[in-house]
């Protein structure tokens, strides 16, 4: 096995040093009754070239990867500068462990500190952690944190929050005290409308903006409504590119911002690994889940960084920890950091504007097709719902088989009674030619 440095002779010499005659004797403490005593029924070892061929053969069956696509819904196709993937492949980054030994982990710690800072700047919040698994688990953790902070248990969540996020949050909270109340969106605007569920038992109002239907919520008004009953206002963001254009949740009064950072230079990768964002106000920092990196000095006054406030975490607090999470998404947070820094202030603004402009153009063109309309009237960022003349599944299937375009996501996957609606996402990677091709395809149905 080429990954094992020792030769058979060296192995035998080492066995002799520890007083054994064969490798089998290493396992004497395992009762023979539970030893396998046969070869595993898996493949013979493959050569490097054979592994590549097997993987390429499987990858080739993923025909969606090379098609023109207007899928979004929590995972977005954006261009990632070449240096992002190049830099994260430095051994020093990808083959290192969690930075528990700060003297030889300053590279990792410094980028985490930069990541935390950038997340704060973009979300408009005071503190951010070193990242969570993804947006969905970050939202589940926000539910739990809101319960801890307010000592209340009712979570009021909009149905226009990503349906898979809501499923995950339900899983996380099913054995606790949380009472989850769903509130609908307005049929005309697509925004959260009915806030009558908010009361003095409410721990948090949870909304997504831009929401799952692509609509930008009036966060300031929602924040006021949540605060009026003493609840925390939790904002979920699945499209991180939107921060470059939209008023930050922090500026609108959010208490916790959670989200998904995949759009910041991370490949779609069939849904993961991505990177969860978690930001809040300074006064809540000791209730936060996950790792935090902070400034520290050595005895000579040199500035460095360490993982800090770890008394919140499972390795110290065990069952009383703020979360069971142990890892962060280190390398993916690094990719996001490199992306944000490479794009910089101007790039993050320009890419956000391009997304909004291209989506607006596409929406306008589609709205002009006979039988098609844009379902919701609220302002949008880079996604919008289209209502077709027949079932969305049928429309999308047609466009896919006849025009080789994945035209969007049929909302019937997640919502009942919305058979003709589909969600279209347009990013800076969609050219005008592609948008026009989609419009032509829809027109030709």
């Amino acid at each position: 096995m080429r990954y094992i440095p020792n030769s058979p002779e060296e192995r035998d010499e080492m066995l002799a040093v520890v007083g054994l005659n064969s490798a089998d004797e290493l396992f004497r403490s395992i009762p023979s009754g539970v030893q396998l005593n046969r070869a595993l029924k898996i493949t013979e070892p493959l050569a490097e070239s054979e592994v590549i061929a097997a993987m390429e053969a499987m990858a080739a069956k993923n025909t969606a990867a090379t098609k023109t696509s207007f899928l979004g819904a929590g995972v977005y196709s954006h261009f990632s500068p070449t240096i992002v993937d190049h830099l994260i492949q430095r051994s020093e980054f990808f083959t290192s462990y969690t930075p528990y030994q700060p003297e030889i982990s300053q590279g990792t710690l410094q980028y985490i500190f930069e990541f935390q800072t950038l997340v704060c700047q973009l979300t408009g919040m005071e503190v951010a952690n070193a990242s969570m698994y993804d947006g969905s688990t970050a939202m589940a953790e926000a539910y739990l944190m809101a319960q801890r902070v307010t000592r209340r248990n009712k979570i009021v969540v909009a149905t226009s929050v990503h349906p898979e996020y809501r499923e995950v949050a339900r899983t996380y909270t099913q054995h606790g005290e949380a009472e989850i109340v769903s509130i609908p969106f307005d049929e005309q605007t697509g925004r959260v409308a009915d806030l009558s569920a908010l009361d003095d038992k409410t721990a948090a109002l949870v909304v997504q903006s831009p929401n799952f239907l692509g609509c930008v919520e009036d966060l300031t008004a929602l924040a006021d409504a949540a605060h009026a009953v003493g609840a925390l206002f939790v904002v979920v963001v699945t499209e991180a590119i939107s921060f470059g254009l939209l008023k930050s949740p922090g500026a609108c009064g959010a208490d916790i911002v959670v989200g998904e950072g995949q759009s910041w230079g991370v490949p779609m990768g069939f849904g993961g690994p991505h990177v969860g964002l978690f930001a809040t106000q300074e006064k809540f920092v000791r209730q936060m889940p996950g790792r935090l990196c902070g400034v520290a000095y050595d005895k000579n006054g040199n500035r460095g960084f360490v993982l800090t406030l770890s008394t919140r975490e499972q390795h110290i607090r065990r069952e009383k920890a703020t979360s069971n999470i142990c890892t962060n998404q280190g390398l993916i947070a690094l990719a996001a950091t490199i992306y944000m820094e490479t794009m910089g202030k101007k790039g993050l603004q320009e890419v956000a504007m391009q997304n909004a402009q291209k989506a607006a153009y596409a929406a306008k063109q589609i709205a002009g097709i006979d039988g098609f309309e844009i379902t919701f009237s609220s302002p949008k960022f880079n996604e919008f719902v289209v209502r077709g003349p027949v079932s969305a599944i049928e429309i999308l299937e047609n466009v896919r088989t006849h025009n080789n375009i994945i035209g969007g996501l049929a909302l019937s996957k997640y919502y009942t009674g919305r058979d003709n609606d589909f969600l279209v996402c347009v990013t800076e990677t969609n050219t005008r030619e592609q948008i026009d091709a989609l419009v032509t395809a829809l027109s030709g149905l």
Binding site: M1, S69, Q101, E103, E114, R432
Partner: protein, 513 residues
């Protein structure tokens, strides 16, 4: 040991990117906007008005130098032995990185139609099959994002099973037994599933105390046991069958923390030991990179009895004849009404699954067994060679990791942390320190199979030298490390007055410091 440092060295003094920023610098170029511009695209009250204040402006060269410089401040597996016990820091192959980046995987949207994602579903299915064979368990979900989430999923399966089996009476069965040597995530995950924790004592031999186990089972209410095997002191729980039988007789189920599977792959299977549910860490046993703290991937495997409760969707295969030739196709099945639900959006950390399957293909059955043997032999070798220099708290043969304590050095005022920091001066990453908690001043050393004899000997020699220094010149060890860019950091002050982000006034403080 003193080195004259070049204090102005640019690589050693790289600041924060915010301190490098200069208005007007550009690091990107987008294609020209190719659609007609819509004016007033959003109402002003919904738009940002802070001009992204504080976000850096740097060139591409600035970014590349910045990250290349700070990367050199990290230790990494590719530099040398990374003997962190319980972490399994094995070689991360470039092949795995390459295949995970194939366009058909990396560029694939998770919500694309299943007909057009067959290769990804096939890969998940194949990995599921192999992991089931390796663990001897029938059910699997690759959805959990990391070990702690795999654990949470595992104990939630136990909870769902008991709720269904016992109905109302399940509420009287909420005790999770956890050894005192367990990872902190175990009790934290149990708490998420609504269990309370009772701690099982270990014996002087480092094994589960069977008398105490029986006693706790007799107290009743036992939902299950969370056990690491080999346990966190690196010893195989020889009584594993009896332990499982005892828990089962008490009406509970056994969850095994798979953190230490690198000692077992190809040799013994948890399913054959009586374990009901386990999580694996693909980032440990199956070599997906630790990435400086993530991403991980924590598949949860279970017995057929628990399988109905696994998260959905499940990836399944069906074989149908296509022009009379049987052909496999893969599908996502959401129809499991007793499922605990989703634990993560989409299908888990797919990119890690590609790497893990590449690892399995490269090793094959024989290579996986060889890796296990090499990992255990390396740890045994270290255990043997250091047994006269460092206190060995347990006599039993170790599996894939060797444990010592600072007992012999602490008399001179040199404690585990000092030994760990001094190892840095010898060019090694420290071992895991102060874990497990049952050994005072614990040093847990897991070489993995990726270290050759020459490097092991160098490590052993360094450990012996440090002991000599501790006896002859303890201050040298206490003040370590001496060779790093930065000395030991004042973590207490950092926690008392946390500074968790850069602000404009920080630059001045940094320069004056």
């Amino acid at each position: 040991m003193s080195i004259t440092k070049v204090t102005q060295h640019p690589t050693q003094n790289e600041g924060l990117i915010f301190e490098r920023s200069h208005g007007g610098r550009i690091g990107y170029r987008l294609p020209k906007l190719d659609v007609p511009v819509t004016d007033d695209i959003l109402p002003a009250e919904l738009r940002r008005d802070d001009d992204l204040d504080g976000v850096p402006e740097v060139s591409e060269v600035d970014v590349v130098r910045h990250f290349t410089r700070i990367s050199t401040w990290n230790y990494s597996i590719d530099l040398g032995m990374y003997p962190l016990g319980s972490c399994t820091m094995k070689y991360n192959s470039r092949l795995n990185e390459k295949v995970a980046r194939i366009g058909g995987f990396a560029g694939l949207h998770p919500l694309a139609p299943a007909e057009e994602t067959q290769g990804a579903l096939e890969l998940i299915y194949r990995l599921q099959e192999d992991l089931c064979e390796i663990t001897g368990l029938a059910g699997i979900s690759l959805q959990p994002a990391a070990g702690a989430q795999g654990e949470m999923t595992g104990v939630m399966l136990i909870r769902a099973f008991l709720d269904q089996r016992d109905g109302e009476a399940s509420k009287d069965r909420r005790v999770m037994l956890i050894p005192d040597s367990a990872h902190g995530t175990n009790p934290a995950s149990a708490a998420v599933a609504g269990f309370s924790v009772k701690t099982i004592r270990s014996t002087a031999e480092g094994l589960t105390n069977m008398d105490h186990l029986h006693e706790l089972c007799n107290e009743g209410g036992v939902a299950g046991l969370m056990l690491t095997n080999p346990n966190t002191v690196g010893i195989f729980e020889t009584n594993i069958r009896e332990i499982c039988d005892t828990i089962h007789a008490a009406g509970g189920l056994v969850y095994m923390d798979g953190a230490n599977m690198n000692a077992l792959v190809g040799i013994a299977r948890p399913g054959d030991m009586g374990v009901d549910v386990i999580h694996l860490n693909l980032h440990k046993t199956f070599s997906t990179p630790h990435g400086g703290g993530g991403p991980g991937c924590g598949p949860c495997l279970c017995s057929a009895e628990l399988a109905p409760f696994l998260p959905t969707p499940r990836v399944e295969a069906e074989t149908r004849p296509v022009r009379s030739v049987p052909q496999a196709s893969y599908r996502l099945n959401y129809d499991y009404p007793h499922s605990i639900g989703r634990v993560k959006a989409f299908f888990g950390n797919f990119g890690m699954m590609v790497r893990a399957l590449s690892y399995i293909y490269t090793h094959g059955a024989e290579g996986l067994k060889e890796a296990t043997e090499a990992a255990v032999l390396n740890a045994r070798y270290v255990s043997n060679k250091l047994s006269e220099t460092y206190d060995k708290p347990y006599e039993s043969d170790c599996m894939h990791e060797a444990i010592f304590s600072h007992k012999k050095q602490s008399k001179k005022g040199v404690v585990t942390l000092d030994i760990a920091k001094r190892l840095i001066d010898y060019g090694f990453h420290p071992m895991t320190v102060y874990f497990p908690l049952v050994v005072e001043g614990a040093m847990l050393i897991e070489p993995t199979e990726s270290v050759g004899r020459a490097d092991l000997d160098a490590f052993i020699e360094a450990m012996i030298n440090i002991d000599r220094e501790a006896q002859e010149n303890p201050q040298l060890v206490i003040d370590a490390p001496h060779s790093t860019r930065i000395g030991r950091l004042d973590e207490a002050t950092a926690a008392r007055k946390p500074v968790l982000r850069w602000r404009t006034d920080m630059e001045a403080t940094a320069k004056s410091a």
